[in-house]
Amino acid sequence: MQLPILSILIFLPIVGIGILLILDRKHHKGLKYATLAISLVEFLVSLPLWFNFNSQTAAMQFVEHREWLPTYGISYYVGIDGFSLLLIMLTTFLTPLCVLATWDDIQHRVKEFMVCLLALMSGMIGVFVSLDLFLFYVFWEVMLIPMYLLIGVWGNPARRVYAAIKFFLFTMFGSLLMLVAILVLYFHYGKTTGTYTFDLLKMYGVSIPFNMQFWMFLAFGLAFAIKVPMFPFHTWLPDAHTEAPTVGSVILAAVLLKMGTYGFLRFNMPMFPEAAHYFVPLFSILALIGIVYGALVSMMQKDLKRLIAFSSVSHLGFVMLGLFTFTMPGVQGGIIQMINHGLSTGALFLIVGMIYERRHTRMISEFGGLCTPMPVFAIIFMIVTLSSIGLPGLNGFVGEFLILLGTFQVNKLYATIAATGVIFAACYMLWMFQRVVFFKVTNDKNKDLKDLSWREIAIFAPLILFIVWIGVYPSTFLDKTKASTENFLAMMAKAKSTQVSQSHVFKGEAQ
């Protein structure tokens, strides 16, 4: 019998919470070591997923199927394909690093913090592996609570509560409409096939009239677009990012935002393919606005964290643009860009966190010339910045190049506009880097800053390893998603042929 790896991944952090609860709350180091150990075990448990994953098939692997509420068609149904595999690995890979990053950062209510972190981890894994709509919704919502607490309790004193509530309400707004859509879909499936189920894979097969797809796509899409976040639903993001503690920002950027894009890939597009084709112009244009707008706003930010937050809007715009091309390079690039963004932006937030720990400010104008007191820091910062810009040889380039390639096949205008985003990115990132790191030290407070400790270097080493690896040899990762992408594209292509006639019918009805 095969080990239920996915279930272990989901429930191990819960067991970990149990362990933390019995530990002494005053013993901060002990709590941190325990959490680190748990998250490392979690990472080790996730490794077999990577090595035993069969990249030849698009079918779900490591599947577990247990009845939960059989009379209602709800089951505990988990499994992964190439898309989820990469995101799970990203999650389990980043969490130990996040724990390391809390070493000096989090000093009060350590126990609660670690409990939230582990609960969040369990929820994130759950979202990426659920193949049952009900189960997915449960994880999707459950995850909100620890993140809300992370921002609200350990965030920046001034505006953390505002940011936490905004984050919660925005996400909740979208997901409640999604809940209605899930239920409508459930009853539609029941009526057409006679069996009632929340099984996602079965939902793929059912034919849904275009009129209904239209609204379903919008309802699901709103929930995911808020999470991504796409322009104009992005306003919660700068607040949440800026106010959250470093680790909160890292997880938020690296994993939580990916749930939105993952949601599009896993739920929205395959379930409502005709509507997806219909909405390509709308979502592509919103993505383009996100790319350019995010980049322009980034340029004007005075606060480092806010700058990175807005750059996320821009980067995620690329991902969405890539996914909505429905071409091999576009979708593959979109997926790899999700991982890239997780690594680069995660690293950037860690960097900001580290200088914040030293200087207790994030204002760009407060810094300058950090390369003199902190040379190692400057090098790492440089690599991460370049990766975020998309320098060839580093990971960002691969993702953006593939996305632009895919977009160019579909719409040259979109590709041209998106390409300006790359240029803008170079502007705001390099300008920021220059103001923080280069030149002479102008502010006396920066003169005696300590360079990175071994612990901090240990956090960045694995990140940079993967930043380079993806940049130099992306096939390791692209191969894993190839079969899933092909399958996805086949599904979308099939819908394309029927879409033309049906959208006609819809327009007729509207008149």
Binding site: E141, A164, L169, L176, L179, V180, V184
Partner: protein, 486 residues
Amino acid sequence: MTFTIPSFHLSSIGPWLTLTVTAILILVLDALSPKGRKVCFSWLALAGLAPAAFQTIGLWGSTGTDFARMVYIDDFANFFYLIFILGAALTVLISRQYLEDYGKNMGEYYALIIFATVGMMLMAAGSHLIMIFLGLEIMSIAVYVLAGLFREDLRSNEAALKYLILGSFSSAFLLFGMAMLYGASGGTLFLNDLPLRLGADPAMAPLVLLGVGLLIVGFGFKVAAAPFHMWTPDVYEGAPTSVTAFMAVAVKAAAFAAFARVFFLAFPAIKVDWNMVLWVLAVATMTIGNVAAISQTNIKRMLAYSSIAPAGYLLMAMVAANQLGAMSLLYYLLAYTLMNLGAFGVVILVGRKKDSYLNIYDYSGLGAAHPVLAASMALFMFALAGIPPTAGFVGKFYIFSAAIQAGYIWLAIIGVMNSLVSVFYYLRITVLMYMKPAEADLGPVVFSPALTAVVALTAAGVLAIGIFPGCLYNLAMNAVKIFPGL
């Protein structure tokens, strides 16, 4: 002229008898026991509720009527019996310490709680409108008195008087509606006979509608549906906190038991007519309850307003008028009993010393001072807001499913948007508990064993039936098989 006494089985109303005897026993003992000597009436009350619960379980699965068709014996009634007993038992547990603080730990309090419970059982099992009315009055009169338990307190007096006067009005409406139906049906008030008899004469249709409308007013008052909710905040705030909890949970459940039974059994034929009315009531109730709760700074008042909104969700299940809807009614009421009584348990724990700490800002910093207590409160708040994996989420999920299955998608959308509004004020409590420094000096919270047990049990229950809803779902689904019209 001869009277024949119809045959009957006392066992069919076993739980009622047990509880009635318990209540009378408490009253007698209270009168006999010398002043100043405390008899533990709360234990006596629990000792009566426990066998009643066992009797109910013993009745499980039996169907039929008894006492000349006046009483239904079915799982729908049994399910509600258990909700009432659970509600009463938890209320008794949270009351003792609270009443002792006020020097009001009197026998009649427990007797009244139990009498009210018996009234509720009559409502849930009555198969004749008069039976339901009798049950309603037994319950209401007991609760009127309970609301005014603190005789010396002006607010408690206000609560009792307000509740009594408005309640009497609503009873009159209910009775008037029954009279109309009696006329329209040509002389019967048996729920089973009503559908056929009401449809018999088309000329009577206006009278039927009038009767149904009046019933809606009467029941609407008891479940605190807008626009008949005006009494709720004042009464809930003025009444003793334990009584407020009892009213918000058990009284509402009883009213919905009768409401659902009457409408699903007797008026399925004119569903179109009452559906429209209930649709409007549901939307108004949810919206008014939630919007008004936002601005409350007294925790009791906030819970009072926020307990209006669930009535709206439950009305939504009534509107759906399908099996799923009826099932969700049972499920949500049970879940609501757990989470609301749990929340009130925390309110009493924190409030102590004669309700000194009822402002929501008193909760600030609770997360640091009493982590477990705060975590339970947070759990209840999230459950009331309907966030998984709690019972509150599953309950709402069923209700929304029912509405969507019946095709009321807009109603479901209004419902979820209302949930969002409610998230805001429930979240505020967690914000205060975890994200604000303590404002008031709470002093030591005394964890009396009974209250601690209530909070622990309800918290465990809220999680357990939220994560494993299957067993209860099946029970509730079987219980609502009695409605053939759905």
